[in-house]
Structures are given as C-alpha cells and as structure tokens.
C-alpha cells in the first residue's frame, strides 16, 4: 500500500523532473528538474530495499554531480535562455518518430517479459552496507580497485584540461 503510494507520487515527480529537464529553456531549470528526478529515484531505491545505494544516490549524484553541473552552468554563463529554433530541419520529426518507436518497442518487450516479483516466502534482498560491502570487497574487489584507478586518471585529466590554454599548457 505504502509502496504503491510512494510509487505513484514519486513516479510522477520523476517524470515531471525529466520533462522539465528536456523542455526548459533555462539550463538552470533543467538542472533542477534533473535533481528532482534523482531524488525520486533515490526513493525508489529505498523502497526496493537498496538502502545503501539510495544514500549514495543522494550524496553523490544529487549532491555532488548536480552541484558540479550547476557550477559549470554558472561559470560558463549560459544561464540565460537559449534560442529555440531548430537548425537541422529533419532532426525534430525524425527524432520524435524514432523515439516513439523505441519507446513502444521497449514497452512491448517489457510486456512480453513482465516480471512479477520474487516468489513468496523467500527472504528479500538486503541492501545494507554490510551486504553490499561484503560483496564489493570479496567478489568484486578487482573492479573496485580499477575504478579507483579510473578516478585518479579522471582527476588528473580534468586538471590537465583546466590548464590547457591556447598558447600551450602549464601557463
């Protein structure tokens, strides 16, 4: 019951946020819409017993990534509204057409393979920190370490890009 209510409310919120993100003229509005969607998705995680992931979603995604987005939007100075006209005449109809097709295809595939929940009487998945952590550090320790390496590389790359100027790097 509760889950249904949560689903309906936050589902609508997520959809509203997504549409705002795509439709809004002002990029700041887009960012805020996306943030709303992310919060809704975090709620969905919790209602699916993925507590740890839900927390991480709020802290990292909505907290850090979207904040970073907003910083850059402000920095670049495109917070002003942008021009709405379409340069590529074929793009809009083509895109809308194929999106409809894609969506229909996915939903129909889902209808064919509709999942209806785990069997009754079995313990549901426990998404606590202990459960996820023990998986991470046992089975998935190698990908874990590699992603750590990946983050270092990304950080170094971002710094290098920041220093890149027309006359050469390092100025």
């Amino acid at each position: 019951m509760i889950e249904l209510a949560l689903f309906v409310v936050f589902g609508l919120a997520a959809l509203f946020g997504a549409v705002t993100m795509v439709w809004a003229r002002n990029p700041v509005y887009s960012a805020l819409g996306l943030m709303l969607t992310m919060f809704s998705v975090a709620v969905f995680y919790v209602s699916n017993s993925a507590h740890f992931v839900g927390v991480v979603q709020v802290i990292i995604y909505a907290g850090a990534v979207m904040t970073l987005f907003l910083f850059v939007i402000m920095l670049i100075g495109v917070d002003k509204a942008e021009d709405r006209s379409e340069n590529l005449p074929v793009q809009r109809p083509l895109a809308l057409g194929f999106l409809v097709l894609f969506g229909a295809g996915v939903l129909w595939a889902g209808h064919q393979a509709w999942v209806s929940g785990p069997p009754q009487g079995v313990d549901p998945v426990n998404g606590t920190i202990e459960a996820v952590g023990s998986e991470l550090f046992r089975r998935w320790v190698l990908p874990f370490e590699i992603t750590a390496l990946l983050m270092i590389i990304a950080a170094v790359g971002a710094i290098a890009l920041a220093f890149f100027k027309d006359e050469g790097a390092g100025e």
């Binding site: 194929f98 894609f102 295809g105 595939a109």
Partner: protein
Amino acid sequence: MTELLVSAAILLPLGGSVILLFVGKRLPEPLAGVVATLTVGAAFVCAAIAGLDFFTGTGEAVRVDWFSWMPAFGVDASLGWDRLSALMTLVVTGVGALIHLYSIGYMKGDARYGLFFAYLNLFITSMLILVLADNFAVMFVGWELVGLCSYLLISFWFEKETAAAAGKKAFVVNRVGDVGFIVALMLVFSHFGTFDFATVFESAPDVLTTGVATAIGLLLLVGAAGKSAQLPLYVWLPDAMEGPTPVSALIHAATMVTAGVYMVARTAAIFGMAPIAAGTVAVVGAATALFAATVAMAQSDIKRVLAYSTISQLGYMFIGVGAAGYVAGVFHLMTHSFFKALLFLGAGSVIHGMHGEQDLSKMGGLRSRMPVTFATMAIAWLAISGIPPLAGFWSKDEILGTVFERGGLWTVLWGVGLVTALLTAFYMTRMMWLTFFGEPRWDEGVHPHESPAVMTVPLLALAGLSVVGGLVNTPFRTALEHFLDPVFEGVQLAHAPAGSVALTLAAASVVAALIGIGLSALRYRGRVPNETGFPWRVMGRGYYVDDVYGQVFSRTGKLAAAWLAFRFDARGIDGAVEGIGALTRRTGSWLRPIQTGFVRSSAAAVVVGAVALLAWFLSRGGL
C-alpha cells in the same frame, strides 16, 4: 647395347646444339660447322650399327625407355627402334650429315655461323625425336620442335623483312595443321586411354568403329597436310625458300616435310580401317601433285621451282600411302630425299657461284663454268624425271603401279600421276636448260665459278645415292618391302603389279618422261621465251592462292585484332575497370552528405540503429 646407341643417336646432335648455343659465337669459323657435322655423322654411325641386326634380318623391335613423363596420361618419354624408324633415322642423319658438311662451305663468312649450326643440330634432334617416338605424345613433341626449328632457320636472316615474314607464315600455317593433329590425338586418347603406338595399333580393330577411325584419319591428314605442304596448307613452302639453301635442302626437301608421310605410314593401322580417310589422303596428294607441277612450270626463281617440285613429289608420296602402298610411299620418301637434297644443294652451289643471283633469266650457259655442279644436278634431274635405272624411276613407278593395281577409281589417280610425271620432266628440263645451257645471260661483273670441295663432295655423294638408291626395291628384288614387312604386320597392304602389267606401266611412265623432256628441250632450246602472257602469269603466281589467303585470312585477322584491341580492350575492359573506380567515387560522393558534422545527427543515427536492432530482436520473439 642397341638402346644405348639409339639414345646416343639423339643425344649427340642435341649435345652439339647445346654446346654451339653457348660457345658457338666464340669458335673460329669452320670449327663450329665441323663440330656439328661430326655429331650428326656420329649419330649416323650409331644408327647404322644399331640397325645392323635389321639388315641381316634378325633384329627385333626394341623399346628405349628414358623416363616416365606424364603418369596421368600413362605417357613415358620412350623411343621405339623398329625397321621403319631405323630407316628414317638413317635417312635423316645420313642426308643431314652431308648437308652439314655442305653448309660449312656455304655459310662461310656469315655473322651468325655458329648459331646456324646450333639450329641445324637442334633440327636433327627434333626430327629424330619425331621418327623415333614410341607414342603419339613424344611424336607430337618432335612435330612441334621441327616446326620451331623450321621457323628459326627460315628466318635466319631475319634482318630481311621477307625472311622474317616467311618464318612467321610457316609457323602459323603449320599451326593450322597442328590443330587437326591435336584433335586427332584427343580422339585417340579418349578411345584408347593411352598414346602408346603398340597398344593403339594392336587394339585398333577392336576399339574403333569405322566412323571414328575415319575421323581420326582425316584429322591426322590435316596435320600431315600442314607439315608436308599439301593442298590447301602448302603456301608456306615456297616462301620458306627465303632461308639459306642448306635449310631448304634439309628441312624442306629431305626431312621435315616428309614427317607427314612418315606419320601416315606409322598410323597405317588406323588408315587401314578407314578407307574413306585413306582415299582422301591419296586424292589430296594427287591434286597437290598436279597443281604444284603446273605452278612449277612458270617460276623464274630457281629455288621456287624446286619448292613447288617438292610439294608435287610429296603429293606422290601421299598418293602412295593413301593407296595403302606404305612401302612405296616410304621408298619414294627415301629416294626423293636423295635427289631433291642434291637439287637444292646444287642450286645453292649455282647461287653461291653466281654471288647470290637466283633468277633463272639471268643464268644460262653455266655448264662449262660449274662442271661438277652441272654433272651432279643432271643426275638428279634424270632421277626426278623418272628415267631408269636411276632412283626416282623405281620409287615413282612403284607408287603408280600400286595405284593402278587397286583398280576402279584409283586408275584416275594413276592418270593424274602419269600427267604429273610428264609435267615434272618438263619443268625440271626447263630449269636445267635455262640454268646450264644456252647463251650466258648473267649481269655485268658476275664471274661464276665452281664451288669449293667442301660443297661439291656432298653433291657427289648424293649423286651416287640417287643412282643406286633405287635398287633397294625393284620389282625383281623387293628388298625394302621385305625389310619393312614386320612393321606393317596386320595391316592390309597394297602391292605393285608384277609381270607384263608392270612392264607396260613402266614403259608408259618412261615415255611420259621422255615426252616431257623433249617438249621442254624444244621450247627452250636456244631461246628464252617470253613467259609473261596470261596462262604463265597465273601459274607463276600460284593461281593467286596466296593472295586469296591474304585477303580472306590476314585481313579479317587484322580487322578482328584491331576491333579487339581498340574497341573491346581499350573501351570495354579498360572502361569496365575505370568504371569501377568511377562508380566507387560516385558512390562515395553520394554517401558523403551523411557526415554532416553535427553531433545530433550522429546521435540520431545511433537511435535509428538501436530501433532497428530492437525491432529485429522483437521479431525473433524476445531477447
């Protein structure tokens, strides 16, 4: 022992040829010729020793295996030494050695002296391969090789454009005949599964139907007609006189052109089963003999008279082997090689003495200046005209007798042969008269002289052979026929008549010859008649056959070649290749606008692909 000698007979001239090809240029002048002559002479000696058994009547046919050549066809490189091939080998190497000796003197001073003898030796090797072959495949190798050597030697003085053209013509016309030969070989293989002579001839009556045998026979005739210059493939032989005279003597009188006759004699088993094919052989021979004799009457070049004479005499041989008188045909082959080689070498001696002059109208009265040449050529003249007891009489008469004896329609061929004998006597006398008798008509500054001994000795030797050569097979003592009996075992042979019929026929041919000589002497005695009027001109041009061939075949060939080169190749094939390139370019420019450079277009393309993939998965009923 015999195998060794037979192999040596081929390998000696081959070795000589190879050595001379490499070092011939560096050897001093007569040495190259001496080496070549010695190899051929040694080959003759080997053949004689190996053939001793045959002469004493005790020898058996021997097979000399060299190596396994094409196992897929069951073909070995092997030689067959029986009486027929022994006889041919002796003729080839014997006459060949004499001609080699003659060439040492004739080719003196030539820039490519050594190369000439290398080619001559190579020719002897090729001819020996042909006559010693034990199966059709090896014979074909020899067949093609002699064609090659003929080309090399005809166009030996290739700086002269007519000589180069003559060599090409000989090769191409031979090729036309070879097509017939090859198809015949294919038929043989498809019916017998082997090329081996012994197997084919023994099982021929069981394997072949008359129809197939006729087909094979006719196709073999095509090949033989090409090689032996019969109608309609004779046109290369008169032009082949562009080559040095020893070449004409060796290849185009004594040996290569006789390959066709030898081949028909060798395949007697097949011709025996196909009377139509054999009859065609004889008819072709008769027609050629008569035709060539008429053309010879109007030639003004001394060598061309002899060329047409050769064609005519080869026609006689074809009459002989076509009428199943294989021994008679081979007999005439042998005697003809003696006196025709003598005639050619003598003509060469005349040309040599006249410093290159070949036109009969510029000769005359050479009798006193070149006595040895005159005497030997006179003997050859009488021999070819069929005056007894010289060689030509016996062999020609045997052919005519065999044909007469067969009766029925063959008597017509006998008549043709008789008329041709008359014409032969006529034109040979004409040639002798215009050359050696009468008042001198030669140009200023020409001093005819007798040729050196190295050239006259072979003339004397050949003259001797022309005198006694016929005695091997007279009606009184048919030694040659007995000699060749084991070869033609199982084949139906025709024989010459004996007794009073033979005497009557002999008398008829002698009378014909005398009439011919008489008419000619009357005409040319003391004057050179003007022979530019209508019949003489047509005959002189060979009834314009060459011109017709040129128009029909050469022109259409050239047109076809031009069309192929410029329309089909340049426009068609090149166009296709370039068209592919142009097509690629056009497709590229047509597809290029897809790359708009806009990121969103690429994204749209990705979505299109995703939709397609999704649709495909769904159509297959689920991921």
